[in-house]
């Protein structure tokens, strides 16, 4: 069956024929658990706690309320800026101001949507055979255990660039987590290079969307500072002509914008600064919070993933190759693979029926 998976061209044909077999030859199909009226896509049977939109193209966390708040805040503040402050600034200073503001705004929204909608780097759960194989390896490694004896925690140690790193076993996903991966309890997935779960973005931040997240907060800092600075400029210029209070009366939206921007700047600029530090030292938020590579842990403790060079760390995080999604959300769920020899031969016959029907 695995040979079929490479021949992507055959898939649409198989889908049509499979439906036909189901409705006409239902009596000969002796495996009711594989009989489906409709072929499902993999996102529909995804075991994690994620929400999917646009037939699997968009992937988000379960709780997305705060994400909508983020979008509304950005849209409203920027909208007010373009509607109320830009006409004055464009005519009195330069039309470059709304132009630059516009570019910044589009970039911010683009990066936000990209960070929110992409797969952060979710690791698919182990297949039953893989899980059984790993269990066997763990049992032989731990040795026989009598009743009442608690088995030691399932960990594997690996030497990476001179540092001993412990790989933990994930009981939910039934895999040994790769280094830097972590299980997100909110999304119930193991995520590669797990940074943190961001409610503002409505998704986990991991290997595949970290650069979008970073560019989002960086560009949002610039946008917030930009709007803040130019709204203040607008109010000052108006006050010079008509006095401060009447300036505020003429442009009430400016007050709202200043308040939103003032409070946002502290948090967003601070966050950008923090993530700039993390990128330059090639650490994740998770590692920084736990102090995994801090010198406080021990004299010889250092970050084995850092390239040693600030520029290389930054380039690797932001311009490195973008790995593809490992979970194949829009792929079709394959019929069951052949059972091992220990099972009855009846199930062995069924897949061959399906194979023959594809040939016709």
């Amino acid at each position: 069956m695995t040979g079929n998976m490479h021949l992507g061209v055959e898939e649409p044909i198989r889908e049509c024929q499979y439906n036909q077999i189901c409705t006409h030859n239902s009596s000969t199909m002796d495996t009711p658990h594989t009989k489906k009226k409709k072929i499902k896509r993999k996102w529909q049977v995804f075991p994690g706690r994620n929400k999917f939109y646009c037939n699997g193209r968009i992937m988000m966390a379960k709780q997305t309320g705060v994400f909508y708040l983020t979008v509304v805040l950005i849209l409203v503040t920027s909208g007010l800026f373009f509607a109320f402050d830009c006409p004055f600034l464009a005519s009195n200073l330069t039309p470059a101001i709304p132009a630059i503001g516009g570019v910044l705004f589009i970039f911010v929204m683009g990066m936000l949507l990209r960070a929110s909608f992409s797969d952060p780097g979710v690791l698919p759960r182990a297949t039953p055979e893989e899980a059984a194989d790993i269990e066997r390896q763990i049992d032989t490694a731990n040795g026989p255990s009598g009743p009442g004896y608690r088995p030691p925690p399932r960990t594997r140690e690996v030497l990476i660039n001179g540092q001993t790193v412990k790989l933990k076993y994930c009981f939910t996903c039934k895999i040994f987590r790769p280094p830097r991966a972590s299980h997100c309890s909110l999304c119930d997935n193991c995520v590669e290079r797990f940074d943190h779960h961001c409610p503002w973005v409505g998704n986990c931040v991991g290997r595949r969307n970290y650069r979008f997240f970073y560019l989002f907060i960086l560009s949002l800092s610039l946008l917030t500072i930009f709007i803040f600075a130019f709204v203040i400029t607008h109010v000052i210029l108006r006050s010079n002509r008509t006095g401060f209070l009447s300036a505020l009366k003429d442009s009430p939206a400016s007050v709202l914008e200043v308040v939103v921007c003032f409070f946002s700047i502290w948090s967003i600029v601070g966050l950008s600064g923090f993530h700039t530090y993390l990128i330059s030292s090639n650490q994740t938020t998770n590692e920084d919070i736990k102090g995994s590579w801090s010198s406080k842990r021990g004299k010889g403790n250092y970050n084995p993933y850092s390239y040693g060079n600030l520029i290389t760390n930054c380039c690797a995080a932001l311009c490195g190759p973008l790995p593809p999604s490992l979970i194949d959300r829009r792929g079709f769920v394959q019929p069951d693979t052949p059972q091992p020899v220990a099972q009855t031969n009846g199930t062995g016959a069924c897949p061959s029926n399906q194979v023959q029907s594809h040939m016709t």
């Binding site: 893989e130 990476i160 311009c319 973008l322 593809p324 979970i327 091992p340 020899v341």
Partner: protein, 143 residues
């Protein structure tokens, strides 16, 4: 070798067991598989052949994840176009994954299927393992 299983025949055969080649994390988080020869394959395939297959796979994955002028250029260009450029063109990683899929198919057809084995592309297992399916060897008497 008297067994002449082809890729088609294997679909009819029964699965005896599966062997999993795990990831090798000693070089960090890059995609690399362990070269260690699994004991279950000792009677089926030549150790050197197997190691060569895994080593070639490792080299291909290293090429996909390589940091260098080309990947930086692609990254910068993508950022400047707000990542819309990937709507029309494939990333370098995806191109190499296609190369890997072709290589695995080729290896299966030429070497592994005639020995009653089947390699599964690691991308179908989330790049966690190289799954090798060992099929029941019906013509074992001819050895």
């Amino acid at each position: 070798m008297a067994e002449t299983h082809s890729l088609q025949d294997l679909r009819q055969a029964a699965v005896a067991s599966k062997v999993f080649v795990q990831r090798d994390y000693t070089s960090g988080t890059i995609c690399k598989f362990q070269i260690k020869f699994p004991a279950e394959l000792e009677s089926r395939i030549d150790k050197q052949q197997f190691e060569e297959t895994i080593q070639t796979l490792n080299n291909l994955y290293a090429e996909a994840e390589k940091l260098g002028g080309r990947s930086y250029l692609e990254g910068c260009l993508a950022c400047l176009t707000a990542y819309t450029i990937f709507l029309c063109m494939e990333t370098h990683y995806e191109k190499v994954l296609k190369k890997i899929a072709k290589y695995i198919q080729e290896q299966n057809e030429k070497i592994y299927a005639p020995l009653g084995l089947l390699l599964t592309d690691p991308i179908e297992r989330g790049l966690r393992v190289v799954e090798i399916t060992i099929f029941e060897d019906r013509s074992i008497g001819s050895r």
